[in-house]
Amino acid sequence: MADSRTPSPAAAGPPHAVVRHVVLFGRVLREGGLEVGPRRIADALRALDAIDLARQEDVYWALRQTLVARREDLETFDRAFHAWFLRAATPPPLRPAQPLRTAAERRRVGAPAAGVELDGGEIEVGSWSRDELLRKRDFAAMTAEEFARARALIREIAVGRPRRRTHRLRPDDRGTAIDVRALVRASLATGGDPVVRAYRSRAHAPRKLVLLLDISGSMEAYARALLLYLHAARGSGRGVETFAFGTRLTRLTPELGSRNADTALAAASSRVVDWSGGTRIGESLKAYNDEWGRRALTRGAVVVVLSDGCERGDPLVVAAEMARLARQAFAVVWVNPLKGHPEYEPLTGGMQAAYPYIDRLVSGHDVASLEALGTVLGGIVRRHAA
């Protein structure tokens, strides 16, 4: 990157040098993850044309306002601008230089403990009933081969979405609001007498859904399967936001947007930096509430937390942040894989702290329970009365 820069603007005419600079700068930004298309470059050039190039501050603003479209990208832009236009010796790395593990390595990290054998596995059964058995099998106890088949099942789970009434009106014969526009048209034939009745009613749309997945060490056996579930949920339509957390919060919505589950999971895996580490549920919820709750993402949404509730931080923080979450959310559902065990009771510190704010506690240790979760979500019609 560094040696492709032109040190001598004198070689070309000023406008030419500017064009070249901006085009190369656009390339630097693209490497930093910004979406800089030819249209933006053209805008930037027009903007530079309109300002005084001798004023560095104006150059900065003109480029920033034409090349950046998201607040998240401002920091990258600033670093690139300083490196490029303010002539730092070498451009600082645009991305953290830590070596990225390959997706395959990541998958291995999250793999279920080896050596767990299927107890009646050798019996020859038809494919349908094999799937039936698989649906009830704890993710933690699955062999690699079983998990591969379970993946396909999770992918097919039609994620139930709670619905909400919108303010939009749609034509509906059984509606209660009169469709005046249709009425007026029909009245033409009757000399102004409103005879033909047309009605409208409020349309329904999926309610916002926010999924927060615990990917810390204690969730290792379930994180992969649940991440697949997050991907399936993301594919269920608009208004789904997905996050992973362990010691920090990572938004995965863009990564899980790919239709191909493998691509999506690989992208999500490389985004998360705290796989199988410690758990700070309270801090992570706080990060969510601060950044996303404040932006009103939670308001009116059904929030699903997928975690075993093993908190290493202060349970008081968990309680405070769950309270904040519940105040804004339409409903809070907690998915705890440990609940699949018959003798489970919510005794862990984090779980106890969170318990008063949960509308519905469900398991999530096998395919069948994830299907049930879909039914639970689809059935939420009243606020905090799941």
């Binding site: 298309g37 805008d43 401002l74 919108t166 102004g192 932006r295």
Partner: protein, 299 residues
């Protein structure tokens, strides 16, 4: 970009500085970044998307530039469920029905009934049909449904709307367009691509003092300084909703009305509700914390 059929008058401001002083004339102190954004939006004839925390003055900026341009401001406040009938046009059904009744039976033809005199113009159509060049403010676009955003995209690229009964109505003069968003959701890339983007930060203390002095006439100098520092302190704390510029102005107005010359703990406590809007935040900022903050602000 199709510009050929729309008449664009020459640029009103020759430089950023000129625009900046025109804004100051409209009682709005913009920093260099915002002034540049507004200037470029006029020069490049592109809509400007303003984002920032609630209360940093996004809507105010649009109003000020409208004043500076001497252009009428047409505001479209977005909300969930906003549809074409409330944003663009609607037929005046009551008048239509009366018209049919008033006419001899069978004498009304459809073309007459769906004529311009029965059309109710909502902000978007009003902006497009205007003889004068107007400033169209699309406020809090993030609150509207995504379907509406897609529709808006069409309007912003062609500046024309189609009323099925009347045909296509194209703008005579391209309106200036400013959009604001509080980022309750991410906007579509396609929409963003049409716009210049500017993120408004909270103002610096020095600028906030200037703004407070401009917006609260007769405020004691010392009070303005201490209040701006106090607000900046609050923003550095971990609050659910840090105060915006609008809140600072409200607060200083309250303190001035109470005859305050400087910050005093009791009066600050009594008026804190104008600055902090969450109960949790009010619980955090009290007693020693409050006294400490006031002491820091007083320097």
């Amino acid at each position: 970009m199709r510009t050929g059929f729309i008449y664009s008058p020459p640029m009103v401001f020759a430089s950023i500085d000129e625009l900046d002083s025109a804004l100051a004339g409209a009682l709005y102190l913009a920093d260099r970044g915002l002034a540049t954004a507004l200037y470029l939006s006029l020069v490049l004839e592109k809509p400007l998307l303003l984002e920032g925390e609630a209360g940093v003055g996004k809507t105010e900026a649009a109003k000020a530039i409208a004043t500076a341009l001497e252009a009428p401001l047409i505001r479209l406040q977005c909300y969930e469920g906003l549809d074409i009938a409330h944003a663009v046009y609607e037929w005046n059904y009551a008048r239509q029905l009366l018209h049919i009744r008033a006419a001899e039976a069978g004498a009304v033809d459809e073309g007459e009934l769906f004529g311009r005199e029965f059309l109710i113009r909502r902000p978007v159509l009003e902006a497009i049909e205007s003889e004068e060049r107007v400033l169209l403010l699309i406020d809090e676009i993030d609150r509207a449904d995504e379907e509406f955003e897609a529709f808006l995209l069409e309007v912003l690229s062609d500046f024309q709307v189609t009323v099925p009964e009347l045909g296509t109505i194209a703008a005579r003069q391209r309106p200036y367009v400013i959009l604001t968003s509080n980022r309750t959701r991410e906007l579509h890339d396609a929409l963003k691509r049409r716009c210049l983007y500017h993120w408004i930060d909270h103002p610096s203390v020095a600028r906030e003092i200037q703004i407070v002095e401009l917006r609260v006439p007769g405020v004691p100098e010392r009070l303005a300084e201490e209040a701006a520092r106090f607000a900046a302190e609050l923003r550095s704390l971990d609050l659910q909703k840090p105060p915006g510029l609008a809140e600072t102005i409200d607060w200083v107005q309250a303190l001035t009305a109470l005859g305050q010359q400087e910050l005093q703990v009791e009066q600050v406590h009594a008026t804190l509700g104008t600055l902090l809007k969450y109960h949790d935040d009010l619980l955090t900022i009290r007693d020693e914390t409050l006294a400490q903050l006031v002491a820091t602000a007083r320097g």
